[in-house]
Subunit: 400 residues, 2 copies
């Protein structure tokens, strides 16, 4: 049974003491610093360190999680134990600064190094293959041998709540003679899960699948906004570029891997067997449930446990060629889609390439309209209940 | 006529006062700081600022060019004028610290934000198309409508002289049933020119082609090392990833755009006409000559003036969707190849997909062997002579 915190309304809230995600916040009168969410409050960890653990001040009185992450996995464990103890000991209440979460401004929680986006859902890759290549094989030959991925634009990673201007760009429908320029006509989401690297790896070395828990600091939701008409025209032969580079939204809270231990589940199964560098001991998946909410209506519930490739495999693949890692590198799963129609994590799939509008309350949608608000919500089991990852929210504004 | 500097042997050296590239260097006893190259010497600009221009100390007593770049284009001009005056006035000699270039260690000159690699040579794209798709159209339909590009791994950008371990990875020849893992069998170079962004652009705004000279700080050589066997297997449908992400080498010196004014030339011509956001006033090309040297023998001389897309067009395309820019973002041209066989900037093209070994002195090559040393050299006309950009050097070590 989870011990009880003295913070009111935290028990069973999704932000109990078995969660303790990290974020960076400001208040009107003080600079950015690290906090954790407990119930409906933010505990100011910079202030807590000054009061009770001075050696942590340099890690937590910081404008990003990067100093804390760079301190390494033993420190991650020690800081988590210290915060847990503070929140379980009522005698600490007087010394701590607890702020209502609605009274703080949350910032992008980490400085993003490189951002790699994978394509790890078999259901998503199969759906996309069927939509775009109805007469060919749904999965390309490499897909079950390696986690296919590409580099996104790290400078375009923004925090939940940031408004997204509809991108403009070139597109050409197959029926048109020449490309035209204008606001994206098929603006989409991709509901994903992201993994934040907390440990640097030198140039030329490799992280194995077994290094996952000491290399990845934590998890955040990701919405990889996608301009499908721009993508269809630009993407050969070097992959998506401007269709993705205008914005990627991440949650304001990074949930430590340690909080997701009870959510670990086996992968659905890999056949053919993967090469040795991609093999993994123990359960590689995570039972994270996702809700895609559009203008207040849930339009899909993608289950992360159905993903084909594990995050540890994605990490091993990322570095097998000697690529270095930096603290703050982000890699994401790619769109999460399950086998059912209402488990698809993109409008491209929910509307089957725009040909089958789907219901959103009393309205219908194929792709996003100006003014639409998307919220991705994520939850996962803990030993005694559920935790709620930081939501990933964004509203579409017209093209500037 | 170029005025004469008091620094010996600088006149006509490729590093005269009309060049003045910026780099970051260390000596055994002092931390990294900004310098400029003049003749065979490095002028310590941090020391020069302390002696003669204290307001520049914060920009130049720095471990990267980012503070100088972030100061903006008016400061770029002012600092260049100040350095020029110092080097023309013999009375300054006593106050300045001039170090033999062989006595300093050169560092990666800027903190790389995002790294985007284009594919802007028509000859290169046509050659690659013919090699990989002998029965199809050499150029894909989008190629003449937009500068095709993708994001590379910015954390893998290293400075000239860094040894490159041969990457390992998955590959599968068409004749094989399943992929295998091992050291890259077709390791290649890509001789490119890179453009370093010196001005941030907020999320949602656009840089036009006319903003090029106030947005791009300078130019450096780039070798985008490429593992062709890994690339051929992994690249569908999301583009190159591990085939490129192990290392990209840049020169140690960034040549300011102002030094390349005399090298500006018109593009070869664009037909069909490009969309308005890609249109450009004035000459968009640069007459930079490149030499690809392998183990001391020049194996190709790619001419940058033959590139189809201009760097100003690449910049406008990069931001037309509202993607932000950060100081230190790097974008590169893609492989520079001219129309002639000995003007091809990759071994893939020089050996026509590995089928036609080419002579290297008394030896032959298709792709790189362990121990090979590649040096890319770049030069361009000035008003009265030529300047030499920083070389881009790398030696291949065995897979770790």
């Amino acid at each position: 049974m989870t011990p009880t915190t003295w913070v009111p309304h935290a028990a069973g809230s999704g932000h109990d003491v078995d969660h303790l995600p990290y974020g960076v916040f400001t208040t009107s009168d003080e600079p950015p610093r690290v906090g954790t969410r407990i119930g409906d409050h933010v505990l100011d960890l910079a202030a807590a360190a000054r009061a009770t653990a001075p050696s942590y001040v340099a890690l937590l009185d910081a404008a990003s999680l990067n100093p804390l992450m760079a301190a390494g996995p033993e420190t991650w464990s020690a800081v988590r134990a210290w915060v847990t103890d503070l929140l379980l000991d009522p005698a600490q209440e007087a010394a701590l600064s607890l702020l209502p979460v609605d009274d703080v401004t949350l910032r992008l929680p980490f400085e993003v190094g490189d951002y790699v986006d994978y394509y790890a859902s078999e259901h998503h890759a199969t759906n996309v293959g069927r939509i775009f290549r109805p007469d060919g094989d749904a999965l390309l030959p490499n897909w079950k041998h390696l986690p296919v991925g590409y580099h996104g634009r790290s400078g375009s990673v923004v925090v939940s709540g940031t408004a997204i201007h509809r991108p403009a760009g070139q597109r050409k429908a197959p029926t048109e003679d020449a490309p035209t320029f204008g606001p994206c006509l098929r603006l989409d989401i991709e509901a994903e899960l992201g993994f934040v690297v907390g440990r640097a790896l030198p140039f030329g070395e490799r992280a194995s699948t077994a290094d996952f828990a000491t290399t990845v600091f934590g998890v955040t939701g990701v919405n990889d906004w996608s301009a499908r008409d721009i993508q269809a025209w630009e993407y050969v032969p070097l992959g998506p570029n401007l269709a993705k580079s205008f914005a990627t939204t991440v949650g304001a809270w990074v949930t430590p891997l340690a909080a997701l231990e009870a959510a670990r589940v086996p992968l659905p199964g890999q056949e053919p067997a993967v090469l040795p560098y991609l093999q993994e001991e123990g359960p590689g998946g995570y039972d994270v449930e996702v809700e895609v909410e559009l203008n207040g209506t849930v339009v899909a519930r993608p289950p992360y446990r159905t993903m084909y490739w594990s995050p540890a495999q994605m990490l091993a693949h990322l570095t097998v060629n000697g690529a270095s890692l930096r603290v703050g590198d982000l890699y994401a799963s790619g769109t999460i889609s399950g086998p059912e129609k209402d488990q698809r994590g993109s409008f491209l799939e929910l509307s089957w390439g725009g040909r089958e509008p789907f219901a959103v309350g009393d309205a219908e949608r194929t792709f996003l309209e100006d003014g639409d608000e998307v919220v991705l919500r994520y939850s996962a089991p803990t030993a005694t209940g559920r935790l709620t990852l930081g939501e990933v929210r964004g509203t579409i504004l017209p093209t500037r």
